[in-house]
């Protein structure tokens, strides 16, 4: 099994936490992993992305080739579109529908969402509201991760264990609400897939 994943968002939205959870789960299964991150200047409210590659075989490049990503996981809809050149023909795009408008020329949100809906295989969800219901809007990234779970090709329990591991330092309450967020995202994806 091999999955090439582009993670996208705005600096501070928690895409590296998504990477950490998937990464931990992958390592637990003895998979290989390469993950290219963005540090430095771009983190100041700019667009950030990460290439995450997991595989049972050894991985060559730290970068995913254009047109080869199995998944784009985005915590912001405009950012989900920025990396479309990476998406493979049968790839899925999973994105939050909630815009992060820290730029004066942010396009009309309906046009942005329409552009996402134009992608053949997409999943668009209001992760902020779902995260709030789970206990904190801060868990929106984990809702998105949950919605991506059916496409990751790994046991959901592995992801749950990884969430426990990654957030355990922050206390039981944070672990619980992130597990709720993860499950809410997963359920959304399953309902959507059935339809």
């Amino acid at each position: 099994m091999k999955k090439d994943i582009i993670l996208a968002g705005v600096g501070g939205q928690g895409i590296l936490s998504i990477a950490a959870v998937i990464g931990y789960a992958a390592l637990e299964q003895g998979m290989f992993l390469k993950q290219a991150e963005v540090h430095g200047m771009s983190q100041r409210g700019g667009d950030v992305m990460s290439h995450l590659r997991i595989s049972h075989d050894e991985i060559s490049s730290d970068l995913i080739p254009f047109g080869k990503a199995d998944l784009i996981i985005a915590v912001e809809p405009l950012e989900s579109l920025r990396y479309l050149p990476y998406l493979s023909r049968d790839g899925w795009l999973i994105s939050s529908s909630r815009p992060f408008t820290n730029i004066p020329n942010y396009p009309d949100i309906e046009e942005v969402l329409d552009a996402v809906r134009a992608i053949p295989q997409h999943l668009l969800l209001d992760a902020d509201t779902m995260a709030k219901e789970a206990g904190s809007v801060k868990a929106a990234n984990i809702v998105i991760l949950g919605a991506s779970a059916p496409f990751l090709g790994m046991d959901f329990e592995l992801l749950e264990n990884a969430v426990r591991f990654i957030f355990t330092k922050k206390g039981e309450r944070v672990v619980d609400l992130n597990l709720k967020a993860l499950n809410a995202g997963k359920e959304f994806a399953e309902i959507h897939q059935r339809n």
Partner: protein, 539 residues
Amino acid sequence: MPKILLLGDEAIAQGALDAGLSGIYAYPGTPSTEITEFVQKSKYAGENGIHSQWSVNEKTAMETALGMSYAGKRAMVCMKHVGLNVAADPFINSAITGANGGLIVVSADDPSMHSSQNEQDSRFFGKFALMPILEPSNQQEAYDMVHYGFDLSEKYLIPVLMRITTRMAHSRAGVVRRDVRKQNVAHLPSDLRQFVLLPAIARKRYKHLLNNHPHFITESEESPFNEYIDGTDKSIGILVCGLAYNYLMENYPDGTVPFPVLKVGQYPLPKSMVERMADECDEILVVEDGYPMVEELLKGYLGRGLKIKGRLDGTIPRDGELNPNILAVALGKENTFGLPIPDLVVGRPPMLCSGCPHIDSYGALNQALSILPKGRVFSDIGCYTLGALHPYEAINSCVDMGASITMAKGAADAGMIPAVAVIGDSTFTHSGMTGLLDAIIEKSPITVLILDNATTAMTGGQTSAAMGRLEDICKGLGVEEDHIRVIRPLKKHHDDFVQILEEELAYQGVSVIIPRRECIVAIDKRMRDKFKTKQTATP
């Protein structure tokens, strides 16, 4: 040992700790910062007295590391590529003095300029200095190369340059550690004049370095990091440096390349391997991140010898970072592409954080300068460089660390009065102080704003050497006390700030204004750390 997941930077730091490091010296700079931070956070380093505090700049870092090497211990010095410009003097001369304890210089290049003002290639500096160079292709090699590099350094008593790129520095992968090696016992160089570069001694030392060069080539030929992988199709040979190997292999998922491949991870180039490729292949494709250094070397200025393909003939783009697709095109393979980016997608450039003290400083500065013709603000390297962008559009230069003050002085010399310099606290102690002395000596009519946010913010909030020292430094250098003005940049002080600026802009000499308010990201981090300590302290 089990695999641990490390950034390239962290793999280098772990490698250094395991290879008997005694001290790491550095000034923060993306993408090299995490190497030193890893050592700073290491419990093992703390327990074993391994030095890891930040240096004031790359030159002092390089020299201090050289001092540790003189004393017989293993030292590492880390910087971003442009930091090597700052450290160039001791770096080049350290090849002449040589080392005593193992000494590795890590320089992190930034092809495609993710966070830098150029994409210079540090390998040229290594070649210039006649030093061996190591360039890892993955995180495991980055780890292993530190052990190897210290051994090489101690075998020939020569510093070794390790060149990485942003992609290597900031990409994570599994690394297997080795056993931990003890630190060196302090010992003097066998010749106490080895480091005395008086011309008579320097000439001997230089000859010694030149005489070692053939040995360095032999080392490269026998290095575990240089490998000739034979192929059946000799119509082309592929020479790949560092990470380029991965991008090549990405295009051959079964792991077999039909052409001969020379994988290079150590320089000077392994001559016999290059000769073999030149002899048995019709042409050579050179793939290297950064400048076409190897390509130029093999091609020659007139290009009348070997048939070489690469960045110079357009097979590979002349600038920017490599990727698997660039290799696919160069190899004539099918290129892949997903969907085009919809037209409505606009850029989202980095920006000053909401509540950032620099916003207030630029607000006041723009107002104070509104009565003067535009174009007189020289700035520097840091978060405040973002003041060049909308809506501030407040600065007119960003060249190198410290250039704000000296460029303002030069412009004032040319009659641009008043000229303004905007520099951060950490950048000021890095390279601004000496330039300020130039201005003081000539009583140049410049107004210097030292934006003091009490941290090195852009690289992630490292300790600033300027902390608590700025006024004393300025006074000590000779700025008149009346013209050192401190203000807290807040909206409610805006009018006072503008008034101070107007007064100092009118002064026909050197003024220093210090807008002082802690970086809000730093406050946030401090509070979180405090909360964490409190939590762990509670039983």
